[in-house]
Symmetry: C2
């Protein structure tokens, strides 16, 4: 059982163990391809494959011309760099960067609802919707992509107004101005491989997945806005906090 599994796994497992237990601390150089072939008595293919697997796992990072290095912990787990929820007002605050400079960019346009958006907003395919695409940056680095859809009949024409830095507050303001009261927010979270555009915009290294949040604001039985929020899976934690009201 242990004797006949692939040889590259032996290399992966030994290196991984050393990284996890701290023998190889963050920043430490990993033996090069040439060194691995000697040390483990394997071919270059196996050594190379082992390094690729560890890189895909996010444990090491390869610098061409220099070598592979153990990834810094801070990159792996920058805990709560961005809180998703505010304790006092659950689900009320949008993403806020924890103490870092943050900027939003967005662009609104009108388009037709696709199948997915139509389902989520209870519209028919092809109905007009207002689409707003956001890019959220902290320290200049893109950190979050969001695309928001509102059904086109909700009486709102002006481009994004007041409260420029907070998409949600301005949404709530517009909604209440239109007489719509948000009663309920539903989110669905899953993880997947980034699409090429996303890994481009978010500047993702290979092997990093994204968290995809589908958030829908409801007014009674009617969905009024839905958005797709995409963040790098290794740099973010979504934090939910909900009081258990009796």
């Amino acid at each position: 059982m242990t004797g006949n599994d692939p040889v590259y796994l032996r290399v992966v497992e030994e290196l991984r163990a050393q990284i996890v237990d701290g023998t190889l601390p963050p920043g430490a150089p990993i033996p090069s391809r040439a060194q691995l072939t000697q040390r483990f008595r394997v071919g270059e293919t196996a050594a190379r494959h082992a390094l690729r697997v560890l890189a895909a796992e996010g444990l090491i990072i390869g610098k061409v011309g220099s070598g592979h290095y153990v990834r810094e912990k801070s990159v792996l787990y920058p805990l709560q760099r961005c809180r998703y929820i505010d304790h006092d007002a659950p689900f009320a605050a949008d993403m806020q960067a924890g103490g870092h400079r943050a900027t939003w960019d967005w662009r609104s346009d009108q388009t037709k609802a696709g199948r997915d958006v139509a389902r989520r907003l209870r519209l028919d395919e092809g109905d007009p919707v207002i689409r707003t695409r956001y890019v959220f940056r902290t320290e200049g680095r893109p950190m979050q992509l969001a695309t928001s859809y509102e059904s086109g009949d909700l009486g709102r024409a002006q481009p994004f107004p007041e409260e420029g830095t907070n998409g949600r507050k301005s949404l709530l303001a517009r909604m209440s101005a239109a007489g719509v009261k948000i009663t309920d927010i539903r989110e669905s979270v899953h993880t997947r491989v980034p699409q090429p555009i996303e890994s481009d915009l978010l500047d993702l290294p290979t092997g990093v997945h994204v968290l995809h949040v589908e958030r829908t604001h409801w007014s009674g039985e009617r969905p009024v806005e839905t958005s797709d929020i995409v963040v790098p899976g290794d740099r973010f934690r979504l934090v939910y906090s909900v009081p258990m009201g009796a």
Copy 2:
């Protein structure tokens, strides 16, 4: 810019486009290595690498001896196969499989709090905690791993009792029996590469990440239970739904 990027990317991009636009529908066979080398005039390495990338992205699946096939949509997005939250009682119900047979297995023991658990339960490292490890299965397939920690001083000795199939209900029962009222639940969600044990227990194909949920039950200002919940990232959606109480 487009002329000198890796040739394997050409293969990846063409196949990915055909999969996304439906030219290659779910279940359709992907050209084999040999065919790809001919069609794209590339070496075996490039063809093989392209297939590996697409497999890692979850778009295709390789069957040894047979070929690569476009993955079924249902496998990619089995939407709400498992709801995480019940609409009537937000954060009250634990995972419920949507109409599928589901079983829990668990084992409790007493251990010492590690650094992470100590921080989350506001204990000191080394303090006694009760650890319960769960494996959740639907249709026989393991679908969720959970490890729950309660501080050891919460007056509970008997092995798991009543309400066997629902870890959370039994927790609440025990808690209320001990006079502890849960006021608040906080969760933190991120995604990462599965640890070897996890990919083993959850039977994960390579390239699939996991969603890691850290859930803590609070009683006022005091955390009383914390758990790590690990689910396959490609088969699950966590669904949160919270009414916006005035």
